[in-house]
Amino acid sequence: MKFSLAVYAAPHSSQSAASALRFARALLAEGHEIYRIFFYCDGVQNANSIAAPPQDETDLTGQWQALQREHSLDLVVCIAAAQRRGVLNQREAERLEKPSANLAEGFELAGLGQLTDAVANSERLVTFGGTQ
């Protein structure tokens, strides 16, 4: 079955981002397809490549990236939410005159339309909310 996930939670602040990763792995293990994972609200922090959790804590960004490489996942970060929260790719950093970019490889910035598109093209959408 074709699934999409919406992730609203930052890593290290609530458990929800880790739950989303676990659910994504279980989906793939059970033979289902992931059409898209859309990172919105504080969820955009999952794509912050500057995060450096201690070695005995889970590096969620790195685990998303590994899963992306293995399964060619479409990891989309809402561009408007990411701008507000300080997650930019090289092009946006230059356009907004910021000194550096920090979007992790394997993630893409795109508009909210990609959430609508995911809803239209998936049989199931599961939301992983934040602490709000």
Binding site: L112, G113, L115, T116, V119, A120, L125, T127, G129, Q132
Partner: protein, 120 residues
């Protein structure tokens, strides 16, 4: 056949960004001509109060986003009757120009009619 999407709006405005970001997602969806309905439940009903003036707290009024809904073809808003009553609000206190408010007694039955529910 179920095809439509429901946005379940449960966040009060201003205290968190969720109410605003939820409406932005709804407007993006409507702009792409996807059918989407809204159900205001719990503290989400506070989004519909009139006379909001968040200038002094450095935020834009959420009413602007709500009033854009009819322009994108969303002319009916569902509101949980129980949530209003719990908060001591009357239906008269929650009006959006250009939109019709439909009070819902059994939110579960409404939710079950949708293919997809986005929670905000």
């Amino acid at each position: 056949m179920k095809q439509r999407t429901l946005a379940l709006c449960r966040a009060a405005p201003y205290g968190s960004a969720l109410a605003r970001e939820g409406l932005e997602a709804v407007l993006a969806s409507a702009a792409m001509e996807q059918e989407i309905d809204l159900l205001f439940l719990g503290d989400g009903v506070f989004q519909l109060l009139d006379h909001q003036s968040p200038m002094a707290i450095g935020q834009k009024s959420l009413r602007r986003n709500l009033m854009a809904l009819p322009m994108f073809g969303i002319e009916q808003l569902y509101v949980a009757r129980g949530s209003l009553a719990q908060r001591g609000l009357t239906p008269e206190e929650i009006q959006i120009p250009g939109a019709e408010i439909t009070l819902v007694d059994q939110p579960g039955n409404l939710i079950a009619a949708y293919q997809c529910v986005l929670s905000f």
